[in-house]
């Protein structure tokens, strides 16, 4: 299976470990990822605030570049995913908007006809590759490891590969496939604050507090995430959460791709595990289910 890979800006910064672990496991899964040539920032949420035409034009440039390759685009950053998918929908739904975007693209001799399919890497793994393939690659199942399956927002909403964005199951299914035990995690689709951490940290920190609390109360050993921004907010800002709420959280936050790599028994370096601020100490435990 072959995709055009859109790393997104954070792949070279906050989300390096995400990018590294994806590059590591993709070949094993039989997924060919060809990085999009000369891609640009998708605009995240910031551009939407400034200028609609502009934000869609930015994403459209990436889609236009991808269209030349005529392969589906795959990204692992939820914000990038939403921007790419949403651009497709909007350009299709609002012709007058598309007209403007087209003129803008013309400035760089680009055209986009709306024929690029966009997918989140999690969707690719679970739907396109399939869990059987994943299971077949597991060498060191993460037995007994309790993982809080955190989806966050933009992988699910407004456009999602899931049947019911209110009640997603992909991540749980994947975690079970690699031998881990997903926790209930009532807040699994709740927001971590996203970029509010920059503009309104008091609010974002409280959201993170609730998520961390929920995960810890469920007895999770680690939180699995699908988005670099969630990872940074939940991990890098844990000390600030503790400072603000007098809590003492110290729970690792890893990308689902890193957990997969661990189960595939791949070297830590290749998975960027060293980039964890809060490292995962236990990798597997005597599985209560097994004992019972």
């Amino acid at each position: 299976m072959s995709y055009i890979y859109y790393p997104g800006c954070s792949a070279h910064a906050g989300g390096r470990a995400y990018d590294e672990s994806i590059q590591a496991i993709a070949p094993k899964l039989g997924v060919e990822l060809k990085e999009l040539e000369d891609w640009n920032c998708c605009g995240a949420t910031a551009y939407m605030n400034v200028n609609e035409v502009l934000s869609f034009s930015l994403t459209a440039r990436n889609l236009a570049l991808a269209e030349k390759e005529n392969k589906p685009v795959c990204t692992a950053c939820s914000a990038c995913y939403t921007n790419l998918a949403k651009t497709n929908v909007y350009l299709h739904k609002f012709p007058e908007l598309k007209a403007k975007v087209d003129t803008a693209l013309a400035e760089a001799n680009l055209t986009y006809n709306g024929n690029v399919e966009t997918k989140h890497f999690l969707d690719v793994v679970v739907t396109a590759i399939g869990l059987d393939k994943v299971k077949s690659l597991v060498k060191k199942p993460l037995s007994g490891l309790k993982v809080a399956p955190y989806y966050g927002c933009q992988i699910l909403r407004p456009l999602s590969g899931e049947k019911d964005p209110e009640n997603p199951v992909m991540l749980e299914q994947l975690l079970e496939a690699i031998g881990a035990t997903p926790t209930k995690f009532a807040l699994k689709t709740w927001c971590c604050g996203g970029s509010l951490m920059g503009t309104n940290d008091a609010v974002a920190l409280r959201l993170c507090r609730n998520l961390l609390m929920n995960a810890v109360e469920d007895g999770a050993d680690v939180i699995a995430v699908t988005c670099p921004l969630c990872q940074t907010n939940l991990e890098a800002f844990q000390p600030r959460v503790n400072a603000m709420f007098g809590t003492s959280f110290k729970i690792p936050v890893l990308y689902f791709t890193q957990l997969m790599g661990m189960a595939f028994d791949m070297p830590d370096r290749s998975l960027g595990l060293a980039r964890s601020i809060i490292p995962l100490t236990v990798r597997s435990k005597p599985n209560p289910e097994v004992r019972a």
Binding site: D164, E166, N167, A186, L187, N210, N214
Partner: protein
């Protein structure tokens, strides 16, 4: 041939006159050949309007009448009647639809007037070639079929049967009673549902004029108003209904149990069972999926104890053919599946109940004997009632389900009554208490200190933010009156599910030739003036199959439908369509193409004369055979090639000119 055509243009108040230039249309009509008089009037359908026509027929000796007004489906009968009163054969009348098909759907006055002219010219064109026809009369079979044994079907059945006429009541389940049988109290009077329903059920069961066909489905409907032929499949109960005395010993002795559908799984029932003690008829049925005999061929515990030897494992379905003159559809509704709204946690949290489950819980004859308690056995200290679950929601049902506000209030009252110290919340978007005594009931609940929070609940979760929420179900909702988001922890959540059409409503409707709307509810002939009739003559609708309804409205509709049926019956005979097909024997080549074309096998073949013949008692006048006849030997009376060609020339008058 020259005619004397009279043309009458209706203003319909401003409905037509507001868009179509009436004087221009009248002038246009006058200019058409054969038209001897053209008039306009505010409301042609009114008595003075009709008088206008009748006067002209008599004074000017009109031999054709054309009315340019609303849809013929609306007023053709009216004007045909008017003509006939003036001794002009009804089939010499033609209508041009310039309201539904013109003034109501077009904005540009010029264009609308042009189209109106074309429609009128078409009608005049057809009128030129109209021929008088004499409608045949056929006897009306005095029996009635009622589909659905809920309160609607029961009421209609009794009303009709009491008049001394035969009623066949077909019910899909093994007992009549429908949804109402599951209820405890009824709003706003709080009289117990069973107390008012069961006597009626018994009455139906014993009524000499009512034949009950329970655990049965209608499989085929043929014929037309006055003479329907219906095939009903009585699914086997593995019980001989004649022999069974309903003693119920088999039920006691049967060793195998499963979850009771009637109690929504909150209680067990046997493999041989009656849905509930008051079931009518008092005949159990065996559920082969639970009965071990069907798996292992052993047991037969029930057979051993059945004195009248009514149990017969070999018993097959039986097909019953019935003939009736009229049909009433009373197929009811289905409760919205709350599981479709994930954030409400139905099916996820044990203390989230849907409305019918709660009805059973509060019912004295239900699983808890009427006690309101949690799975733990304790009484809840706080209960949340959530309105509009699956109603007023574009993702599910756009319509308001009409009864939820009131039954939610009823629930609140019953909780207050049985768990005095419990706090009860109602979360609503709008309180809709429109019926007689309903607003007063709302007032009463306000006095009972039920907490009303105006806001649609966003989510129900067991995630606790602090001690006060631990072990509770937490509702997150905006109190829209305050404009603040609230987290409200409760012990129990009751969902006020909306009402929706049965999953197979459209399919069933097709059997009876009636259509269902996008929402799945059956479409009435006219929303105001013919609410229980349908587009198919002789088929009527009553109750929640037409739209969500409370019990009073359902019963009223049922009696209305019964009245429609009785008026049909008392006429004794009805006129059937005279516009049938007719074969010119001298032109018929005897190719028999039409024989196979006719959907009603109304065309037979005369082997001696080697020609086909139409049996006009069976012919419905669809005209399929006419279009197929290779030698133009068949006429569709009132829709002849000549009439339609002339109509075509008419609607295209402006191109030809």
């Amino acid at each position: 041939m020259s005619n004397k055509i009279g043309v009458y243009v209706c203003h319909c108040g401003t409905n037509i006159a507001g868009t179509v230039n009436i004087p221009e249309l009248v002038e246009f009509a006058k200019a058409q050949g054969d038209v001897v008089v053209a008039r306009e009037y505010k409301f042609m359908c009114s008595d003075p309007g009709q008088a206008l026509i009748q006067e002209d027929i008599q004074k000017l000796g009109l031999d054709r009448v054309v009315v340019s007004a609303c849809s013929p489906l609306m007023h053709e009968p009216t004007f045909r009647g008017a003509c006939e009163k003036a001794d002009l054969n009804r089939y010499l009348f033609q209508m041009a639809n310039i309201r539904e098909h013109c003034s109501w759907v077009h904005v540009d006055k010029g264009a609308a007037t042009e189209k109106a002219k074309a429609q009128l010219a078409g009608a005049i064109g057809k009128a030129r070639y109209l021929a008088p026809l004499i409608p045949k009369k056929v006897k009306v079979n005095p029996a009635t079929l009622i589909v659905g044994g809920g309160i609607a079907g029961i009421q209609a059945a009794i009303d009709i049967a009491d008049s001394g006429r035969k009623v066949y009541l077909v019910e899909r389940e093994a007992t009549i009673g429908g949804k109402m049988a599951e209820f405890d109290k009824t709003f706003p009077t709080l009289d117990c549902a069973a107390c008012i329903l069961t006597p009626k059920m018994v009455q139906v069961g014993q009524h000499p004029n009512i034949e009950l066909l329970t655990y049965a489905d209608v499989e085929e409907v043929k014929g037309f108003v006055g003479n329907f032929e219906v095939k009903v499949r009585k699914k086997t109960r593995y019980i001989d209904e004649e022999k069974c005395t309903g003693c119920g010993i088999c039920q006691e002795k049967c060793p195998y149990k499963t979850a009771s559908e009637f109690e929504h799984g909150m209680m067990k029932r046997k493999a041989i069972f009656m849905p509930f003690p008051q079931a009518v008829p008092k005949v159990p049925r065996i559920d082969p999926n639970t009965c071990v005999y069907f798996k292992t061929g052993k047991c037969k515990a029930c057979v051993k104890v059945c004195e009248p030897q009514a149990i017969d494992f070999e018993r097959k379905d039986e097909i019953v053919d019935i003939k009736v003159g009229a049909i009433i559809m009373a197929t009811g509704y289905k409760l919205f599946d709350a599981g479709k709204i994930a954030p409400y946690g139905y099916g996820k949290y044990p203390e989230v109940y849907n409305s019918l489950e709660f009805e059973r819980m509060v019912s004295a004859s239900g699983p808890t004997g009427g006690d309101i308690k949690m799975k733990s056995g304790e009484k809840p200290k706080s209960v949340a009632i959530v309105h509009c679950v699956g109603s007023r929601d574009r993702r599910h049902n756009e319509h308001c389900s009409r009864v939820c506000c009131m039954y939610a209030l009823k629930f609140a009252h019953l909780i207050k009554e049985r768990c005095h110290e419990a706090t009860v919340y109602n979360f609503y978007i709008d309180m809709r208490c429109f019926g007689k005594g309903y607003e007063q009931f709302y007032q009463r609940l306000l006095d009972e200190e039920v907490r009303f929070v105006r806001g649609r609940v966003a989510s129900v979760s067991d995630f606790a933010l602090d001690e006060s929420e631990k072990g509770k179900l937490v509702l997150r909702v905006e109190d829209t009156m305050v404009g603040e988001t609230r987290r409200i922890p409760v012990d129990m959540v009751v969902l006020a599910n909306g009402l929706e059409a049965n999953a197979d409503a459209a399919k069933v409707g097709r059997l009876f030739n009636i259509s269902a709307g996008k929402d799945g509810f059956y479409i009435e002939k006219h929303p105001k003036l013919a609410p229980v009739s349908t587009a198919t003559e002789g088929v009527y609708i009553a109750g929640a199959c037409q739209s969500p309804k409370d019990i009073p409205d359902t019963v009223a509709q049922a009696s209305a439908a019964a009245a429609q049926v009785l008026s049909l019956m008392s006429r004794g005979e009805i006129e059937v369509e005279a516009a049938t097909a007719n074969i010119h024997e001298e032109l018929c080549s005897g190719c028999r193409v039409c024989n196979t074309m006719c959907p009603y096998s109304a065309i037979s073949f005369d082997d001696d004369k080697h020609v086909s013949r139409v049996n006009d008692a069976l012919c419905k006048g669809c005209g399929t055979c006419v279009a197929a006849c290779p030698s133009s030997a068949i006429f569709a009376q009132h829709f002849t090639d000549q009439q339609i060609f002339s109509e075509i020339e008419g609607v295209l008058h402006d191109v030809r000119a």
